[in-house]
């Protein structure tokens, strides 16, 4: 990677970051860098800006970690590299992690980046979906694989799913703009952003505001790593926490850094800035303000388990392991 020119904002965020790693005894001699990999769940974008900020500022390097950020993609599931040990930590979601555990993967969730689930229903203002009650009679464009998500939303709100017409579409805003569907099941932070960047306005209804509680963008690690590589995990998560706090402090700088770090990724700066602004409210809450980024409450675990049961998955609170964050926050 070519050196990235340090921007004024980058310097501010680097200076303003709050967590002191030295006190936690995490500093190791620079010569003994431990190579670890973080498997991202999608293509490089501000969705992972906190990691880029940590890497760019050398916060992991200072803690003795040499972190490789492995890009995801449409055909790059997160679980195999984490199970195989190619990646120390992967970015998944509670539903995928639960499914993998049901299949025998020894995973635990060690941090929750998206406190609020990013799934949303996007529509256009002249035919809006603002509440679940607006859904019956509408044509919804979505991936068939996401049927359990819609099912859970309907059951949480007493909506008859049979009255909604599901149209299998590619993950793109095009069918909505072309009038082939009335609304889309998508993430708050991607297709609605694309629509706004085209100069149109998109209505979004966040599923999390209607009972759909499900931890997303969760950090997963294997039992073996949690038992035997605690120091590496704590150092990696410390960088993430510090990086995301810096991202929250200046989302535009985070977007600029992302675009500068990945000049070949086809990223549009304005799109990235809007996406960064939109994801912050999903990642931070009163809880994280008091406990720190990545933390979760027992109530939200219970609610996530309830949502998962509506999707046909049985999960116990064992799936979550707070010990890494506890070590990190002292």
């Amino acid at each position: 990677m070519p050196p990235i020119p340090m921007t004024r904002r980058g310097l501010i965020t680097a200076g303003a970051a709050g967590l002191a790693l030295g006190g936690a005894g995490l500093l190791r001699p620079a010569a003994a860098q431990v190579p670890v990999a973080l498997q991202l769940s999608w293509l490089h974008s501000v969705q992972f800006a906190g990691s880029y900020i940590a890497q760019k500022n050398g916060w992991w390097r200072d803690a003795g970690l040499e972190v490789a950020l492995l890009q995801g993609g449409p055909n790059a599931p997160v679980e195999p590299p984490v199970v195989a040990g190619t990646a120390l930590v992967g970015i998944s979601a509670a539903d995928y992690a639960a499914a993998a555990v049901a299949q025998g993967a020894p995973f635990r969730i060690i941090g929750v980046a998206m406190q609020k689930n990013p799934f949303a229903i996007a529509s256009l203002p002249d035919n809006p979906v603002r509440a679940p009650a607006d859904l019956p009679g509408k044509r919804i464009g979505m991936a068939v694989a996401n049927t359990p998500v819609l099912q859970a939303l309907c059951r949480l709100n007493g909506i008859d799913m049979g009255a909604i017409q599901i149209v299998p579409t590619q993950y793109s805003a095009q069918p909505l703009l072309a009038g082939q569907v009335d609304c889309l099941l998508c993430w708050e932070t991607d297709l609605p952003v694309a629509i706004e960047m085209q100069g149109l306005r998109a209505e979004t209804m966040l599923l999390a505001d209607h009972g759909y509680v499900l931890h997303s963008q969760t950090y997963i690690a294997t039992d073996d790593s949690i038992a035997n590589r605690r120091a590496d995990l704590v150092a990696l998560m410390a960088g993430e926490v510090r990086g995301w706090d810096a991202c929250r402090a200046d989302t535009d700088a985070a977007a600029e850094l992302t675009v500068a770090m990945f000049p070949d990724a086809g990223l549009d700066l304005e799109t990235q800035k809007l996406q960064a602004r939109r994801q912050v409210p999903l990642m931070f809450s009163d809880l994280t303000d008091t406990q720190g980024f990545g933390w979760w409450s027992d109530e939200s675990v219970e609610a996530t388990i309830r949502t998962l049961s509506l999707m046909g998955r049985t999960v116990t609170p064992d799936l979550w392991d707070r010990s890494i964050l506890e070590d990190l926050h002292g």
Partner: protein
């Protein structure tokens, strides 16, 4: 075809494209003017993406075609190995990208490995099958001559078979050009850092229509350039008119018992290789044959698994088979039409190469708009994927019509249509059947890729769904199902081929 007509054809194509783009609502298709503007103002990222994809595709092209040539050589030297070589080649080609991609990524780590391997896998089979036909496409007398000098199979291969196979090889390489580029792009979906495939995914989500079509145009343009380059080489290398192929008829070989033994050997070798391939990998995702058998046969939820798998197989087969038949008919039909009316090639050939090399994620919304979300759309996309290899192979087959016999027809003032019926089509049969065999797995693969990326049905959707919820038993079962489906259809085509060629092209069925 004159240079003038070629340019006129290209201009007509560009005009058609621009017209379609203007007729749409702007969210689907960008015209050549918008594409050119976008490329002009974004040279850096596109240039690097193109270089990355082209480099990987070139390595895949070299490795895949090298492997095909090596395997064909082995089969020519040791004819007894043919069944095993062809069978293994089929099984490896059937492995779905969606399943192999993540495994390759875990094995090879970050970098270009998976893209190169997937590009190589996308090309080797469509070169191998025509090449095997080409290695037999010579008069018996030539081989008799070699034998009369007391020389063996090596001399036969070097002096006679290799030369006869050259036109078939060039057809295989032409088919490979767009397949390698598409394979490299789909390989980038496994987490590559840069390339046209990465940009395609990004621009689809960002709804950046001019950028999306700029990436598609680059992929198509590169494919056309390589296709045309190999065609030019072929015309320079092959100056002799094709010979008259005379060979004594023979009965179709092989007793049922021997065929069953060959099939059993093949299945045994495949199972051993499967076991060896996953031996060092974590069993969470790298399932062994007994795990998969248990999931299908005696696990508590085996009945539900069978029902899900069966429904998906039926759905995929229901689309792949008609699409396959339509694509094959379209390919052979267009090859015949272009031989009779060569002027049409200027418009149709670039279009055919483009349709084969632009990823389905880009074209699917257009097809959905034109044909709807039902079976017609999927069927058309499958037909488009099958059509191109069939077309190139048949076109090359039609050119194998023996020169002296065509001269005889001309001297009797027989028209092009009569020449076509009595000389060219019979000469095309070996190539037609080779293309029918090699496009069987291509059709199944195309159907699963379309289901995965566009329609969300059938085996392709089941593969994606299984991978996303870590149901690796089901993922491996879908791989086995797709492979068995391809193998059954392949053997059905090969059976028909044996019967027809035993009469029409006896050189293809001799030992």
């Amino acid at each position: 075809m004159t240079a003038a007509s070629r340019w006129a054809g290209l201009a007509a194509l560009l005009a058609l494209w621009q017209g379609l783009a203007l007729a749409g609502d702007g969210w689907l298709l960008a015209g050549p003017v918008q594409v050119a503007e976008w490329l002009w103002s974004n040279p850096g990222p596109t240039g690097r993406a193109t270089a990355a994809t082209l480099g990987n595709a070139a390595w895949g092209f070299l490795l895949g075609n090298g492997a095909a040539i090596g395997l064909a050589g082995i089969a020519a030297l040791w004819p007894r190995a043919l069944t095993l070589v062809a069978g293994l080649a089929l099984v490896v080609f059937c492995l779905p990208l969606i399943a192999t991609g993540p495994i390759l990524r875990v094995l090879m780590g970050p970098g270009d490995g998976p893209q190169i391997v997937l590009a190589a896998l996308a090309v080797y089979y469509t070169t191998l099958i025509p090449l095997l036909a080409g290695l037999r496409a010579m008069p018996q007398a030539w081989l008799d001559l070699v034998q009369s000098y007391g020389r063996g199979r090596w001399a036969e291969l070097v002096h006679v078979r290799a030369r006869a196979a050259l036109p078939y090889l060039l057809a295989g390489l032409q088919i490979s050009a767009p397949a390698a580029i598409l394979g490299a792009m789909v390989g980038e979906f496994t987490g590559a850092e840069r390339g046209l495939g990465v940009l395609t995914i990004r621009f689809t989500r960002d709804l950046d229509v001019p950028a999306l079509w700029a990436a598609a145009t680059l992929a198509a343009g590169l494919s056309m350039a390589v296709y045309a380059g190999i065609g030019w080489l072929g015309r320079r290398a092959l100056s002799d008119p094709p010979p008259v192929i005379l060979a004594a008829p023979r009965p179709v070989r092989g007793s049922p018992a021997r065929k069953a033994a060959q099939a059993a050997l093949l299945i045994g070798v495949v199972l051993v290789l499967w076991w060896a391939a996953v031996a060092g990998l974590n069993p969470f995702f790298a399932r062994r044959p007994p795990d998969v058998a248990a999931a299908l046969l005696w696990a508590p939820d085996a009945a539900a698994t069978r029902a899900t798998l069966g429904a998906a197989v039926a759905q995929t087969a229901g689309l792949a088979l008609p699409g396959y038949a339509a694509g094959l008919a379209l390919g052979a039909g267009l090859a015949v039409l272009l031989t009779l009316r060569p002027g049409l090639a200027a418009v149709t050939v670039p279009l055919a190469v483009a349709l084969r090399s632009i990823p389905i994620v880009t074209t699917a919304p257009l097809v959905v708009l034109l044909l709807g979300r039902g079976a017609t759309g999927t069927l058309t996309l499958v037909a488009l994927m099958v059509f191109f290899p069939a077309f190139v192979a048949c076109q090359q087959g039609l050119a194998q019509a023996p020169g002296p016999i065509l001269d005889l027809f001309r001297s009797h003032a027989s028209g092009p249509l009569r020449q076509m019926l009595h000389v060219r089509i019979p000469a095309m049969l070996p190539a037609l059947f080779a293309s029918a065999r090699m496009t069987v797995p291509a059709a199944i693969l195309a159907a699963t890729v379309i289901e995965w990326l566009a329609t969300g049905q059938g085996l392709g959707n089941l593969m994606a769904l299984s991978a996303s919820v870590s149901d690796y038993d089901m993922l491996w079962l879908t791989m086995v199902a797709a492979t068995l489906l391809s193998a059954l259809l392949y053997w059905a085509v090969a059976w028909a081929e044996g019967r027809v060629l035993a009469v029409m092209a006896t050189e293809q069925v001799r030992p």
